[in-house]
Amino acid sequence: MIDTLTQLAQGFAIALTPVNLMWCFIGVFVGTAIGVLPGIGPALAIALLLPLTYKVDATAAFILFAGIYYGAMYGGSTTSILLNTPGESATIVTAMEGNKMAKKGRAGAALATAAIGSFVAGTIGTLGITFIAEPVVNLALKFGPADYFSLMILSFVTVSAVLGSSAVRGLTSLALGIFLGLIGIDLQTGQPRFWFGVTELSDGINVIVVAVGLFAIGETLYLAAQKKSDTPPEVIEIKDSIFMSREDWARSWKPWLRGSALGFPIGAMPAGGAEIPTFLSYFIEKKLSTKPEEFGHGAIEGVAGPEAANNASAAGVLVPMLALGLPTSATAAIMLSAFQSYGITPGPLLFTQQPQLVWGLIASLYIGNVMLLILNLPLIALWVKMLKIPEPLLYGGILMFATIGTYGISQSVVDLILLYIIGGLGFLMRRFDFPTAPVIIGMILGPLAEQNFRQAMTISQGDISVLVTRPLSLSLLLLSALALLGPQIWRLMRGRRVA
């Protein structure tokens, strides 16, 4: 502990030099900007900056990259809330309640709870990296494919929180999402599935393309189809203060903490990722909320929790990277390739061989978080003004923004065609009252569940009992059953007592 604190102090001494502070600031600034843009994610931004590693020293480069990484997690929520256009896959859930809040004139509160929640979660996550990296990594390695499959089952339960009025419609959306997730070359056999001979489809469809298509394009088409030309364009009124009220604070702080507690460990798991904790957080907040009826209409808990979960998972992803040299996300993989250009081999010995670099990086994460909060809070007033743009212009802008962003993902025309096909689908779904969120959940979870199940079956030689003989897997399955059936049983029991 004392040892850790001494090293952290040395890390701060490195991170607080004017040059490194400058890199940290550039990083969080660029990160916020690319987070705002749909399509360009932190992985691509860092990849494009890799040639920089020939010019600046290792510590400065990693401080810059880490700033971009954290910044992107902050920025991603902005467009989700304001324009229903998620910039990163981990902020898709934020769009669900956040955009509803913005439509009710509460964009300021939504952006503030996202920014402060990100700060809280980022700081908790960084504390986690500092003090409990090793036990967390050891726990994460205990998860095998069978356990991941059960974690996916637990995550599928979260769909029940976004099903909407009709279970049949919700499950139809979910099935569509799972189908979209299956498109592309199958990892276990190397064979393309549902690709219709289009080579561009063999890597699968990017979930951002689907999210932007369903949410932003579909919504815009729906509104355009509804509006009569003689009605004057409507401007969203900004109600109350642009910041958070006392009630908002009271309803936000617990979701921040719960989101962080979910995000950090799942982010640290090699196949955990950033999306699953946001789904779980949304589900938990809906279940625990005193006002569950507000969910689907702009509940602040539904922004606070998932946003915190997403930022804490970003910190979690750095744990296996720094502790073991394991890249568990695209961004981590590219950061590791930057280590290589310095002739540094990341691995279990990194902490002992490169203490300056590692602790300087960790210290800069604390500093970057503070910078991001300072950078983002004043920006809220500016962002909110964007909603004063008359709707036809605003939605025209969203279409353009979504199109450019999608093209930015891989400069592929196929992606653009897909975007508009899915946008048309989103319009029809909206028109016939099918919920769109289950599509995204199915698309992310479906292939993960499938691959983990098949990996587990290969390892166990087809013995399905591994799902219940492994303690971790069994606990997760029991939790899923409890989350799904618990409320019903509870209601039945209460109903009987009343009768």
Binding site: S337, G347, P348, I459
Partner: protein, 327 residues
């Protein structure tokens, strides 16, 4: 300075050797010491991109070429980029595409209508051997014990590696064939990349695993994995394990990367590019980068590389058929 003049001389010689210098040559050679456009059929940040960036850096530092234009066409292990390169760069003598062994398998998996044989071979540059490892806690101590256990019950010997049909899977198929186990019987568990595969091995979720030496070497050094054998022609420094051939398994496989020219360039233009790349590959900057990045130098230039490529395509197609992944 002398290097620059040498290159100019080579370039001048080769261009005048061509009976009618093509249109590009005037433009490209005017900007001495030369301009190149590099095509990367993958996203920025990956192995092919890093090869391309290192080529740029080495050529600039050693004054072999000054202007570089990059183009990325990511997707499907190169199967998206290759047709694009073949059609848009036809006859462009200043175009280089980075690619490698992985692409051979990807093209087969994607049932691609184009082939790497349509490219103009320039040079094989780097190669990385695979290493076969077991978790530190495994009862298997060496390659001999591994082969025995594998032959006895191949189903129980689950192997973690990258995507199906990739280098790791191909290697396991070859080993299976060499020791008398049906390649299809290999209990291969594909993971999405080296990170998740490493995690599965460290957590003892699988019996063994294979990947490029670079992916596992630090875990072997720290004692969390035990290396059983390496797949290259020679042992690897820092890894205490024999080659497969030394262990009596007649398999040699390296995951190579190289550069290719556009289709339709003349033999003279090909020779000029080979000369340029060879100068770079033998130059001090490239050699220093190889050491820094732990890449093995497997330079093989021009027509010899073309022959090697043909042999690789035949060999890999054969093993993918045995694995049941190709028809």
């Amino acid at each position: 300075m002398s290097t620059r003049r040498d290159v100019l001389k080579t370039l001048a010689l080769t261009s005048s050797a061509a009976a009618i210098p093509a249109l590009w040559s005037g433009a490209a050679f005017a900007q001495a010491p030369g301009a190149l456009q590099i095509f990367v059929p993958a996203a920025p940040g990956g192995g092919w991109d890093s090869t391309a960036r290192t080529i740029e850096m080495a050529m600039k530092t050693d004054n072999l070429a000054k202007d570089f234009k990059f183009e990325h066409a990511p997707g499907a292990g190169g199967a998206v980029g290759l047709p694009k390169f073949l059609s848009t760069k036809k006859g462009a003598a200043d175009a280089l595409m980075v690619g490698g062994m992985v692409m051979v398998g990807s093209l087969i998996a994607n049932k691609s209508p184009v082939s790497m044989k349509d490219l103009t071979p320039i040079a094989r540059l780097t190669g990385e051997a695979n290493v076969l490892v077991v978790p530190a806690a495994s009862p298997i101590k060496n390659i001999k014990e591994w082969v025995e256990a594998f032959k006895k019950e191949p189903g129980k010997m689950s192997v973690a590696g990258g995507s199906a049909g990739g280098t790791d899977h191909i290697l396991m198929g070859m080993i299976g064939r060499a020791v008398g186990v049906e390649p299809k019987a290999v209990s291969y568990v594909a993971f999405a990349g080296g990170g998740p595969a490493t995690a599965a091995i460290l957590g003892s979720q699988v019996a063994c695993g294979t990947s490029g030496v670079g992916e596992f070497v630090e875990h072997v050094k720290s004692g969390k994995m035990r290396a059983l054998a390496v797949s290259g022609g020679a042992r690897v420094a820092g890894v205490d394990a024999p080659t497969l051939k030394e262990a009596g398994i007649d398999v040699e496989l390296v995951n190579w990367r190289g550069v290719f020219g556009a289709p339709g360039v003349t033999p003279e233009q090909q020779a000029a590019l080979v000369g340029l790349v060879e100068k770079m590959a033998k130059g001090p900057t490239w050699q220093a980068e190889l050491k820094k990045k732990d890449w093995t130098d497997v330079y093989l230039g021009g027509p010899a590389f073309g022959k090697y490529l043909d042999a690789e395509i035949t060999r890999i197609t054969g093993i993918l058929k045995d694995l049941g992944l190709a028809t």
